[in-house]
Symmetry: C2
Subunit: 292 residues, 2 copies
């Protein structure tokens, strides 16, 4: 079962014309997975003497402060927000300008197939792909989207960039939310908010979508075919009805919240349903693809 391996072209800055079509496709897919994940898992090594890497859940978005109109297919930085302890801040500062080496991962599962051993389960991602039920545990699968990025993180200390990033990230949670709240942040809030900017070295994405497929041997076995139901269980995230809080005084739920709910629900549903029906990926090896 193939997975589509999309690489961050190392030469993207130099040869965007030559690899233009491929580069845009790859970066767009990777950046979309990152930007539509509610939470990113970010790993770093706290100390050379500590064998354990640490994973923190943070929120983040791919964007460009210097080129704010850049598209998802362009080279972008990753802005991260979350609880940035003094440990990470010290590590970022101590890196001498280049930044703390980190790995960022995001996965979206779009569907369920009693995903089983072997090939596809690596390529798991959450929330918009169907589970794929096949004849054997080995050929089961998730439909999923997964992205991994490597880069160097530094603290954003320029106030203008920090404020821009705070708005970017707030709006990534609910689009347009920033201006509907009490802004700008006060001095204490600015002080207590830490934003990391990650310059990306490399990255890749893996995507599986489609109907089940099975090994020829099992497909030719009438006993197995007659006994095992095969298909896809689509899986998608849905928002429920907005629930007003205990000190809410605004009677109507604002349009920006309702629109976000409706469009997200529709998009998520349609993606998962479509992924459940697409032709199965063709089994072929990509150049450089590791053996399963």
């Amino acid at each position: 079962m193939v997975r589509h391996i999309l690489e961050y072209p190392k030469e993207v800055h130099n040869t965007v014309n030559r690899y233009k079509h491929q580069a845009v496709y790859a970066l767009t897919t990777i950046h979309t997975i990152i930007n539509t994940s509610p939470v990113l898992h970010v790993s770093f090594t706290p100390s050379p003497t500590d064998p354990f890497p640490v994973i923190l859940p943070l929120i983040g978005q791919m964007a460009s402060f210097s080129r704010p109109s850049a598209s998802l297919g362009d080279s972008l930085d990753c802005y991260l927000h979350g609880y940035v302890s003094s440990r990470i801040m010290n590590l970022s500062r101590a890196s001498g300008g280049k930044g703390l080496p980190i790995c960022i991962a995001a996965s979206k599962v779009d569907g369920l197939g009693t995903s089983a051993p072997s090939l596809p389960p690596l390529l798991l991602a959450s929330s918009n792909t169907p589970k794929v039920l096949t004849l054997t545990p080995n050929s089961h699968n998730y439909n999923y989207r997964s992205a991994v990025l490597f880069g160097h993180a530094t603290l954003v200390e320029d106030l203008e960039e920090k404020l821009w990033a705070m708005e970017l990230i707030t709006n990534s949670v609910v689009p347009d939310r920033w201006r509907h709240t009490r802004v700008p942040p006060n001095a204490a809030e600015m002080q207590s908010t830490q934003i990391l900017k990650v310059k990306i070295d490399s990255g890749s994405a893996k995507v599986r979508e489609g109907v089940p497929n099975d090994e020829k041997g099992d497909l030719g076995d009438k006993n197995v075919l007659g006994a095992v139901w095969t298909g896809v269980l689509p899986l998608y995230e849905q928002f429920g009805e907005p629930v007003p809080g205990p000190y809410n005084e605004v009677s109507e739920v604002p349009a920006h919240v309702l629109v976000y709910k409706e469009t997200t629900n529709k998009t998520n549903f349609e993606y998962a349903e479509a992924a459940a029906r697409k032709d199965a990926p063709v089994k072929k090896k990509e150049p450089g693809e590791e053996e399963d």
Copy 2:
């Protein structure tokens, strides 16, 4: 805004009677988050000379082979499956018996609050918690559940344990699926399937659920209260109708698939809706809790 920090008690083996109530609660929460995540993010350091840790998405379950009837509140190992490259296998073997040091993370977002800078956004998790919309970007929040574990990974080479783990993991994707497929795996499938067993050193979980809360200053500001809708957008994963595949010959969708779909949908929905209505967490500092 508090988050509930639940630790893997280090003395769990020795003092289960003394910390019994606390230990069970903490481990149960951590293990439930791990076991209900479609995908786990697992980080390790490929080499002491490479500054970047690597994150792989793998599927896994907490369980005990030596004590299969152990409950979620007991000390458990984590079994992982996915594409285990020769690199990881070599690293696991080269670790000299103790195993490769790894970090495992799982996050579930249960709801949306134009989660913003500062405190809570760290505590993000996906899929069953409402988003919490508050008055300021700073006080926004996700309702979420997040777990992080540290341990040592070794390859499972005992055939009986490997087969048990393959069934465990297959059934974690769709309960009871294993026996409804063509089993047992053949020799080639056994050969190509790699299972990692992770003995856990320590871990913790962070959970936020509840209605919004905001700083006193904003709550006392009538202009702000009159302008900003505050509440929770519940978020939950739902399965769609099963979609039969192109070579399916079984006309009725089996009960185990339908039951799984219905019960999961109901559980996910109810959790997110309840989390959207609970009292806001009380702001207090836990011993050892880092400052935001």
